[in-house]
């Protein structure tokens, strides 16, 4: 047994009850994870009994950095929290700050925000459906879905000038108006996307090999998901009606008619269909909002100093609830900005689902929550390992590597 060996530093204290043989590391670099994260899986044979997450590999210290930057600059910084749901970050941060001011957001700006946010949702959901195909080994679905995703990206590029980081938001408004004569094109493209989404729904419903990969995997009860504070599609696929667009409307969601999609089945297959359904809803919302776009100004210029106070805002990102809390002491820079990303909120649920599954299901379940570890990690500080290695010369780095893996070889020299 391993009791007589001194425990390694990182596995001290709390993990003592598990012997080292039962601990299987998953990550930080793993083919199923596109971003570096580390999960310690405690196994009993093939079964997982406990998962301990260790995030923070790509942290950049955004919250600390925000305290030393002007309000406007922070908007662009928080937009870069994530490459996929970038707009909704700046939207939520903007709403939190706008709450501290006395200005009213123009109605046209609210509609434009809704349009961009929904386009982003379509883009994010398509990305996820494609990746699910990729992880299930269905390359064709992946290629088709990502091809159709270009439609959204091209529209976003035409509206905002950039495909990913739209830089559309300003405090109390948006920076760019909708381009002239885009209405027909957007409506026609949205119709195309609805057709495609319906087709993909058919595929994931009938294709035998796809069904075998997704059915009956990743089940969790509604009570557990509610207790663990799941958000977004992860809450809706077990039947919780939790959608901030509906529960606490922001932007123009109280003026654009829509209904949220929930599912009762509660497996990965249901999640796939739910995301495609949400895409259809979003496409219809975009069409409606474009047709009913009100006239008026798009922006109110506000002074760079934000009045003192504290305010929070949340909104429904493609992956779930995004939460921002800002505290101002009346200066040019914020006192404190707290941002919480949906992956962070969904992680406890994913860990719960993993318990009792076998190792083979780990990638599928972790993918199912649409993880964006880059988002989640916005918070911490310095990447010590990489920074230290950075200052080394190539030769030093090589010697370190050899020493690390083959200490006996180094001794021989």
């Amino acid at each position: 047994m391993t009791e007589d060996k001194p425990p390694r530093k990182e596995e001290s204290a709390g993990l003592m009850k598990y012997s080292a043989e039962n601990l299987v590391p998953f990550g930080p670099i793993h083919p199923a994870l596109k971003e570096p994260e580390y999960f310690k899986l405690v196994l009993e044979g093939e079964k997982i009994v406990e998962v301990i997450p260790r995030i923070g590999y790509v942290h950049r210290g955004l919250e600390k950095a925000a305290e030393s930057r002007p309000w406007v600059q922070n908007m662009y910084m928080f937009e870069r929290t994530c490459g996929i749901c970038s707009f909704v970050h700046s939207l939520t941060y903007g709403q939190a700050v706008e709450g501290l001011t006395i200005y009213e957001i123009p109605r046209r700006a609210k509609f434009i925000r809704t349009i961009i946010a929904e386009l982003e949702r379509i883009h994010s959901h398509l990305l996820w459906v494609g990746l699910m195909g990729h992880w299930a080994g269905f390359e064709t679905l992946f290629m088709w879905v990502w091809r159709d995703r270009e439609v959204v990206l091209d529209l976003v590029e035409a509206i905002s000038g950039n495909r990913i980081h739209k830089s559309m938001n300003a405090f109390c408004g948006v920076r760019r108006d909708m381009p002239e004569g885009m209405e027909d094109r957007i409506v026609e493209r949205m119709k195309f996307l609805v057709d495609r989404a319906n087709y993909y729904k058919g595929i994931v419903d009938t294709e035998e090999t796809m069904l075998e990969r997704t059915e009956d995997i990743g089940r969790v009860s509604a009570e557990t998901a509610e207790k663990l504070c799941a958000v977004g599609p992860m809450a809706r696929y077990v039947g919780l009606r939790r959608d901030i667009r509906l529960n606490d409307p922001y932007a123009a969601y109280d003026e654009v008619p829509f209904d949220i999609v929930t599912s009762k089945e509660g497996d990965v297959h249901a999640l796939l269909k739910l995301r495609l359904d949400e895409m259809i809803v979003a496409a219809n919302m975009v069409s409606y909002a474009v047709k009913h776009l009100p006239e008026g100004p798009i922006r109110i210029k506000i002074p760079p100093v934000i009045p003192a106070g504290e305010h929070s805002s949340h909104s429904e990102a493609p992956r779930g609830e995004i939460f921002y809390y800002v505290k101002s002491s009346g200066g040019r820079t914020p006192d404190r900005v707290k941002s919480r990303q949906p992956t962070m909120a969904n992680l406890p649920t994913a860990l719960e689902i993993l318990k009792g599954q076998t190792i083979a299901d780990v990638p599928v379940v972790l993918t199912a929550i649409d993880p964006c570890f880059g988002c989640m990690d916005r918070m911490s500080f310095l990447d010590i390992e990489s920074n230290r290695q950075w200052t080394w010369s190539g030769e030093e780095l090589r010697r370190y590597g050899i020493n690390y893996y083959f200490p006996e070889r180094m001794k021989m020299r």
């Binding site: 930057r69 002007p70 406007v72 600059q73 922070n74 908007m75 662009y76 910084m77 870069r80 064709t140 679905l141 088709w144 091809r147 270009e150 091209d154 590029e157 035409a158 509206i159 905002s160 000038g161 950039n162 980081h165 830089s167 920076r175 760019r176 381009p179 087709y199 058919g202 595929i203 419903d205 009938t206 294709e207 035998e208 090999t209 069904l211």
Partner: protein, 129 residues
């Protein structure tokens, strides 16, 4: 529940085969850029007055102001500043362009900015004036 079968995607696959492929063979076939595309930043040195607004709003710290001389206002000597752009850190948000009151800044359509030398991306155009 629809009928489950293997190979549900085959008809669509043949249809796709007959369509035009959606790949754009980029370096051989130039991409058409939308009117609002935000590419490399450019400055018109004639119009720049050195007011520093762009340097203040830039979220990425691209712009540093450099003293290039002095001028007399009344009986005071004031420094004359001009911006230097470190474009390798630019995030293409366009905030400086929006805030430039003299319309000296502009986002061009140029996006092929890869270079082996980081110094190539330092724009000192405004200094020469």
């Amino acid at each position: 529940m629809p009928r489950r079968r293997a190979g549900a995607a085959i008809p669509e696959m043949f249809r796709t085969m007959l369509e035009k492929p959606s790949t754009r063979a980029y370096p051989y076939q130039k991409v058409e850029l939308p009117a609002r595309f935000r590419g490399k930043l450019d400055i018109d040195p004639e119009r720049c007055t050195g007011c520093q607004v762009c340097a203040m709003v830039c979220p990425a710290g691209v712009i540093t102001m450099i003293d290039i001389g002095t001028r007399k206002v009344g009986d005071k000597e004031l420094p004359v500043k001009r911006p230097v752009f470190e474009l390798s850190t630019c995030i293409f948000c366009g905030e400086c362009v929006d805030n430039c009151a003299f319309k000296a800044l502009e986002m061009t359509k140029q996006f092929e900015l890869a270079t082996p030398h980081k110094e190539d991306l330092t724009m000192r155009k405004a200094l020469t004036k």
